[in-house]
């Protein structure tokens, strides 16, 4: 029996533990996670793979965090099923844990396209620390690597393998890399940097099948593209996106779309059952709809809100949106909301860039309100726009100044300054 149970041990769990303990310092709290190491940065596994970052530096909280918060950690363990009406779950060795409040924070899993050959040795995914360790063990052999998918995970893996001297090819279905986050111009800047370090990018292509070595068909020997071309390789990284890990609630009363549907309290349709992070479909304040947002800030914040509510402090989730801050090949990028929106259908786009291509900044407006922000190369002051976007401030009057290098709170009309800064932001 544990008053609170959390399934999953990453960003959402950290947020929930902190919130629960703020309200209820002593109620029993258990975490079940299949991973043996909890609370590390997934975006940093690329840096770990190429040896730039040690594991210690990837930890979101220090070793004492779980013990200090009196969390019973069941690591390396799997939750097999949950009985929602009688409020207990079963673990892989048959034990039952009865709970009062449950948080499902199981995250996401890599999406494997249905192509032949994904079961061959040398086909890997790149999301978890075990994935990174697996990749690291292959580094000596991984001389030619094909990455399926040019999204966040694919680029991260490509950069790491290239830094270790592998010959890397990215195969991307769309016409540009990072297509879900960036527009053509911003992708172009990143693509130039990618190509500069010798990585090949093939856009508008898909891998039709993965083929074996002529000597041993069970081992990866190459990939065949839809245009018929064969690329020889020894390693294939499947980075074609992620899907919410909803297995535990499938066939139960918990309502699911792409992820588990949650309300403004991060609660599912069942009382006492909450979800957050990649597995949840929560409110996006830009699109105005619920959607799965597989990223750290919303997982952590959703976890906090869930935790407060589980412990009895009524707290509302303000909504999340796309929030990506990152650095690829030394180029910092901030993409928020509808960052890749082009000028179309009522959206106005303002752009600033320099001729040498060192920076590119864009803000997307609809009816005078910021809906998307994209800063590449120079990300300073992007937070001011994020604040204006979060508060849905009408910027029509001063929109020409938004992207100027000295834009600041002082650039706002004085009547707005106080309003903008006076409310809760987070």
């Amino acid at each position: 029996m544990s008053k609170y149970v959390i399934i999953g041990g990453s960003a959402g769990a950290i947020g929930a533990v902190e919130a629960i303990r703020e309200v209820d310092p002593t109620g029993s709290l258990a975490i079940v996670t299949e991973e043996s190491i909890l609370g590390y940065s997934r975006p940093m596994i690329g840096d770990y793979l190429c040896g730039e970052t040690p594991l210690e530096k990837m930890m979101y909280r220090d070793d004492r965090f779980w013990a200090e918060n009196h969390v019973q950690v069941l690591a390396g363990r799997n939750a097999i099923c949950v009985n929602f009406s009688n409020k207990y779950m079963e673990l892989d060795q048959g034990e039952r844990i009865v709970f009062e409040k449950l948080l499902i924070a199981t995250g996401s899993k890599p999406f494997f396209p249905s192509i032949d050959g994904t079961d061959k040795e040398g086909v890997i995914s790149f999301i978890t620390l075990p994935d990174a360790k697996n990749a690291k063990a292959r580094l000596e052999r991984a001389r030619r690597v094909v990455i399926i998918g040019g999204g966040l995970i694919g680029i991260c893996a490509a950069e790491a393998f290239a830094k270790k001297g592998a010959k890397v090819t990215i195969v991307e279905l769309q016409n540009r890399v990072l297509a879900l986050l960036l527009d053509d111009a911003a992708s172009g800047i990143i693509e130039n940097a990618i190509r500069k370090i010798g990585i090949k990018i093939m856009t508008g292509q898909t891998v039709q099948r993965i083929i074996g070595k002529s000597a041993n068909d069970r081992v990866v020997g190459g990939v065949v593209l839809n245009n018929g071309e064969t690329i020889l390789c020894d390693t294939v990284v499947v980075a074609a996106g992620v899907r919410s890990r909803i297995e535990l609630v499938e066939g139960t009363d918990v309502k699911v779309n792409k992820g588990i549907l949650v309300d403004e309290f991060m609660q599912t349709n069942l009382p006492d059952v909450y979800a957050c992070g990649d597995v949840a479909e929560a409110y996006d304040f830009i699109s105005g709809e619920n959607r799965v947002l597989p990223q750290w800030p919303t997982a952590y914040q959703g976890g906090r809100v869930a935790g407060y509510n589980m412990a009895g402090r009524r707290t509302t989730y303000p909504g999340g949106t796309v929030m990506s801050a990152m650095s690829y090949f030394g180029i910092p990028v901030v993409a928020v909301g509808m960052a890749n929106q082009e000028e179309d259908g009522g959206y106005e786009v303002i752009v600033a860039h320099d001729a040498s291509g060192t920076f590119y900044k864009k803000v997307v407006l609809k009816e005078g309100v910021i809906k998307g922000i994209l800063f590449v190369g120079d990300i300073e002051r992007s937070g001011i726009l994020f604040c204006l976007m979060r508060k849905a401030v009408n910027v029509e009057e001063f929109k020409e100044k938004l992207l100027s290098p000295d834009f600041g709170i002082v650039s706002l009309p004085s009547s707005l300054r106080r309003d903008v800064m006076s409310e809760e932001l987070t």
Binding site: A11, S41, P43, M44, T53, K57, M58, M59, Y60, R61, W296, P297, Y300, M323, A325, M326, S327, G330, P332, V334, V336, I379, E380, R381, S382, G383, I384, F386, C387, F407, G408, I409, V420, M421, S422, E423, E424, L425, T426
Partner: protein
Amino acid sequence: MVVHSEEKCMGCYTCIMVCPYGAIKADTAKNRVVAKCDLCPDLEVAACVANCPNEALVYKEVSNDV
């Protein structure tokens, strides 16, 4: 004041993305951030501190004579 730990900072730039004053700068050479600010006066917790994934930015009380 907000204190930045160079040792803990992963250089994820989340703080820059959320700082409503645009006060945080990226040190791309070292893959970290530098900040000088007067806190977010109207927030209980400064935006950067609330959003820093790994507690590299924390709030600390300091006496004036330090």
